[in-house]
Each structure stands twice: as C-alpha cells, then as structure tokens.
C-alpha cells in the first residue's frame, strides 16, 4: 500500500490518530490511550482500477477490458480508494456495571488502501 505524502493525489493511506483523551473517553477506556484509525483518500483513475498489491491479476483484467472497450466506452461507475487490509484493536474498558472488559475489535485500523 502507499502512504499519503505531500500533494499526492493518487489513492493512498492517510494516517489519522484518535486520542481518547481528546474525545473525552479516557475515563472509561483504560488502555490504549488512543489508536491509529487511518483512512483512504485520493483518486482512482480507470487505468489504475483494481491496484495495488494482491489485486494485480484483477488489475490486469480491468486494464485489458479498458483497452478492448476503449476508455470512452468504459462504464461511468469509476473505481474507489478503499481499505484493502485492516487490523484489530485490543481494548480494555469499563462497562456500565464498572466491570473491566478486554476484547479485540476486528477491522479497526486501516493498514493499506487500494482502488476497487
């Protein structure tokens, strides 16, 4: 995956840290103090649809279709910059009965982004 740097306009991963103290949740969330949520942003022009990484074969297919159908005839649907891999977040918090709860919440941290 690609991290957003400078004026990059192509699909990339933008780092974004959520500080639980900043959102006033540090009293009920014991650990961690925050987490890197991150998000995907940027353009996905048709010639990079289905890229990068594991979708290479899919990307080749899309590319061949584009060549066969010429860009003008391509559907207007477009390709979106979306998460392609995500990690769980391990959380230790108080529930409303003041019990201490530990759990791993799946798919909370965006690791890499790609074009659908």
């Amino acid at each position: 995956g690609i991290n957003c740097q400078g004026g990059s306009r192509m699909c990339c991963r933008q780092e974004f840290f959520v500080d639980f103290r900043e959102i006033g949740w540090h009293d009920w969330i014991i650990q961690p103090e925050g987490y890197a949520m991150n998000f995907c942003t940027g353009q996905c022009p048709l010639h990079v649809a289905g890229m990068p990484g594991i979708a290479a074969s899919f990307h080749t297919t899309v590319f061949n279709l584009l060549k066969a159908n010429t860009a003008a005839g391509a559907t207007g649907g477009g390709s979106c910059c979306v998460p392609t891999t995500r990690r769980p977040l391990s959380l230790l918090y108080y529930d409303r009965d003041s019990n201490i709860v530990k759990t791993d919440i799946p798919d909370m941290v965006v690791e890499t982004c790609g074009c659908s």
Partner: protein, 217 residues
C-alpha cells in the same frame, strides 16, 4: 456517506476543509467503536474502581490462548472482570454479588469463569472454605442453593476457584451470588479481605454472536 451527486467520498477526494474532515473522522471513530462493542452510547461509570484493584486485575488478565486461530464466525470474545458487591455478611459467612451487563440481545456464551478471593490466615494453619452458588428460585423468589464447592486454603494470599456450569449460567443471566463460608475452628480468625487492593472478583471469558455450531451425529 455519499454526496448529493451520488459520488462516494472515497472516489471524489476530500471535499471538506480539514477541520470539518477531522470532526467527521472523530465521529466515525466513536461510532465504529460503540457499534463493535454493541453499545448504543458510551458507558457512564456507576462505581469507580480503585487503581489498586485495577493493578491487581491487570496482572491476571491475559490474551486469548496462544496459537488459537480465529475461526470464521467465531463471534467476538471478551474477558470480563467483575468486582464483588459485598452483600449480607456476618462473621460466619461472606455474601458476594456480581453483575454482568448483557452484551447484545443475542446473549453471551460463558466459556470459562473463575472466582478470585484473598484470604488472611493465621500462620501455619489451613482452612476449609465452602463456596456456595445461589440462584433465584422459581418466579425470582428468594435465593436457593444451586451447588457448593469445598476449597482447602493453606496460606494467606489470592485463591482461585474454577466455577462450574451453574455459576456460568447465573453469569449469563447477568447476576451471580456466591457465599464464602469458612469451616472449622480456625474460621473465626481467618478473614476474607475486601479492601481496595483485595476485592474479590470473577474473571469470565465470554463469546458473543458466534453462530452456534449444530453438532452433526
């Protein structure tokens, strides 16, 4: 969230100014956490937990058993530490009440539950401790004895008792009542501590939302 012209935000690039985008992302993060914890809003703490009790507990919390591969539709797993609310007690017995919030309407499946309590004993003595599991009678009338365990306590310190299916069922019903009854002549001088750093607690491993596997015969 798509815009008026139907374009998905992820495709059309950032159209918001940075501050509004930040607000949107923080709101998204909050909603994401509450949704995945099956909470409609953030909890308001009813009874603060002392740092001493928290420190004691953190030493006992451990991750999921190593090498356990996440199966599909395994549902979400929680480790819950519930501190005792000390009920009616006298010199001969200590009553402990534990409350568990229900995680979702689908209910929760207790995988394992154990009681942790701290006993102060005179030196070189042993103590037999009876642990009674009490459950509400029919139509929620007064509590009746579901089962009991005998535990040999041979030194001061923390002691653990693995709780059986009756206690686990009571945890699933969100309220567990235990009675600790010291037996024998040492009973008068042994003390079950309940101070800040020695509050008894139940540690439960819970699964929510896993599809119940139908066992094929």
């Amino acid at each position: 969230t798509s815009r008026a012209d139907g374009q998905c935000l992820a495709c059309a690039g950032p159209t918001l100014d940075l501050e509004s985008q930040r607000e949107l992302l923080l709101d998204l993060a909050k909603r994401n956490i509450l949704d995945k914890l099956h909470l409609s809003q953030r909890p308001t703490l009813s009874r603060p937990v002392s740092r001493a009790a928290l420190r004691t507990v953190l030493q006992r919390l451990h991750g999921p058993p190593q090498g356990v591969l996440p199966e599909a539709d395994r549902g979400q797993e929680y480790e819950i530490i519930s501190f005792a609310q000390t009920g009616l007690s006298n010199v001969n017995q200590t009553r402990l009440d534990f409350y568990f919030s229900d995680r979702t309407a689908g209910g929760m499946e207790i995988q394992q539950a154990s009681l942790m309590f701290f006993v102060q004993l005179p030196p070189n003595t042993t103590q037999t401790m009876k642990v009674r599991i009490l459950v509400p009678g029919p139509h929620d009338t007064n509590l009746t004895l579901a089962t009991q365990h005998l535990l040999e306590v041979d030194a001061s310190g923390w002691h653990q008792l693995l709780l059986g299916p009756e206690a686990q069922a009571a945890c699933s019903q969100r309220h567990l009542t235990l009675e600790l009854v010291p037996e024998g002549q040492v009973a008068q001088s042994s003390v079950i501590l309940g101070g800040a750093a020695h509050r008894p607690f139940v540690a439960a491993r819970v699964r929510v939302g896993g599809k119940h596997r139908v066992r094929r015969r």
